[in-house]
Symmetry: none
Subunit: 267 residues, 3 copies
């Protein structure tokens, strides 16, 4: 597209995605980068829905510690109606697990403030929040661990679970992360995958990025083409170096999933 | 101290802290930076014990995504006897909560590998790990939440707890982080404080850094002078920009704790 | 140098680099760390110019999420005259690509504020910003991609470019990052290298750190000795664990560049 058309597309996309007009800022980062590239050429792409792009974006801006973009994207996601407040709050908890509680604490505060702003703008009273109890998962420690082992296998698409008698994998992973957190209602499995993939991509530890990209593809929750779009979208919101690593991991895991499908078809 | 003496001190400190000889590497980053500054002038300072410095260091290297330093520091902490394997494993879980599970996953793998290496070097068989069950905390959801509210107040040294009916603060903070994780045996409160302060300092969200520095000082678990040393040690392992922010937070929270002490003494 | 002389050197260097007096803060992190080490012993080293050190520093402080150091370093870089406002704004765009838009967004806001502060202090009116259009690069998508492939090879010093038909490498890398961003006037190639190396070092994905260190050395834009100084400077501003990884990558890539030079000389 030509230069003027590109700018126009960027401004229109910005307004649609962010639910407010684009800033009139001619600096290279904003005009050439954010409007002409991120909005004109990334958000406008058809391969991943705008709603799905929100989960990748929210994880990245909540990780990046820049208050204003976080406030703007939380507002936009809620104000557009793309995410309900229940989904947003559940996203904060999922993010807490994969990016740490301190960043999630600020994310949670921003959600409260932006939701209050939206309710104020619309003249609406807040509705009571979803009650925490009863939990959807077991209370008995042994049953929780068994549930955690089961869901660890199902969600990670692998036939084994880690050992119980280790604080990280027992009290943490089996008891809470897979025994409770992933099983909570309020957020779909695809959405949890998108938040997780974004988080493991910026956290950048070697095995989790491979295992979560694999599971997202293997489960079919995220298609191959959607995952390619995740890598591009992530690049814009977290930078090319980590996106390059994510892109490599996607290439490896696609091959693995395809090889397994071929092998299963043959047997 | 003069240049030769400083280098010598750095090499000796390196050997004592890392339990292996320093690398013979003349690059500025290693010779002028790591040996002459980090080991000669930071690890050697008396204001914070070598064992205490380990917890700050481990959190920083586990956050930094650099495999080799993480392996070296896990090995050194265990090989020196400064941390038991139980304490190290509990540190991984505590780190998972404050820095996210993906980085903790790698940390956990590194702990397994380095512990196996040490056992191999010593010709020892591994002892069975501490059993996970029974948990020290309640199983009933209502009782867990009540316990979480109580320990949230005690550990944070504040008179209130967050709302239950919010996934992040209810299912996350009250139910797991303060209802279970902080209350586990295997790691002392001071050690948990040191890991937490390091994590909130690199995560750098506005409120958690203030609240955890406050609570560490207010509780008396970390003395004012020790906290100053934490800031310097953290600077070496995570860089001056975040350390500078931590240092400011420490200044603010010392004033707050002192003002409260004065006010309590007067009343 | 002795202790008193070192403190004095640190205070003088601080004043020269930061363009304001050093804070009178006796805490270990500031006095023993920042003044005695970072300013007395790093900024004062001759192997990398003060202006060049600014680009490494700016990338690190913009990544580190600590507002005050970012404000101080942006102010100092502009106020000293080491960077023009055009170079600073272009640095923000380059940083956006390598560290993600959210952090760059805050960086951009800080640049605006500090530039306004400097103009105010000098009683100057702001000059109109450099107009964005016309772009220096092609608008036609096919020509942009061709340009992107060409500059990808030239800048990375390798004989191949990635596939177009992948969102990350096609729409992202070829179309924008190398088809447009790297080719913009307003910032020199050496400066872009320094920002990039700092960013890949803190992002710490495996391949980009190797490829960008290689290209910076291979192109001759950054000399071997300068790159060693980059590692030390980076250590101070982002911590030793990641600097240690950067230092290893530099060692490996120096060997590669030297081996290629030997092989080319022999043939």
């Amino acid at each position: 597209m030509n230069t003027a058309h590109r700018r126009e597309t960027g401004l229109r996309q910005y307004a649609e995605v962010m639910t407010v007009d684009a800033p009139s800022d001619g600096s290279p980062a904003i005009a050439d980068g954010l409007i002409d590239f991120v909005f004109a050429e990334i958000w406008s792409r058809p391969g991943l829905s705008r709603r799905d792009r929100r989960f990748v974006t929210l994880a990245c801006v909540a990780a990046a510690d820049a208050d204003e973009p976080l406030e703007q994207h939380v507002y936009a996601a809620l104000n557009s109606g793309d995410l309900s407040i229940t989904e947003m709050r559940e996203t904060v908890l999922h993010f807490a697990v994969y990016a740490g509680w301190p960043k999630a604490s600020r994310f949670n505060i921003v959600v409260d403030a932006q939701w209050a702003r939206i309710l104020g703008e619309r003249g609406l009273a807040d509705t009571p929040p979803d009650p925490l109890l009863p939990l959807a998962t077991e209370s008995d420690p042994e049953l929780r661990l068994q549930g955690g082992e089961r869901s660890f296998k199902e969600i990670n698409c692998i036939p084994f679970a880690p050992v119980r008698d280790n604080p990280y994998s027992g009290a943490g992973i089996l008891n809470f992360v897979f025994g409770e957190m992933w099983l909570r209602p309020g957020l779909g499995m695809k959405e949890r995958r998108l938040v997780t993939v974004a988080c493991v991509a910026f956290q950048d530890a070697e095995l989790p990025i491979q295992s979560h990209v694999y599971a997202a593809l293997k489960s079919g929750d995220v298609s191959f083409d959607e995952m390619d779009e995740v890598a591009l979208h992530f690049a814009a919101y977290y930078g090319w170096p980590k996106a390059s690593h994510l892109d490599s991991a996607i290439g490896v895991q696609k091959q693995r999933v395809l090889a397994e499908a071929t092998s299963e078809a043959a047997s």
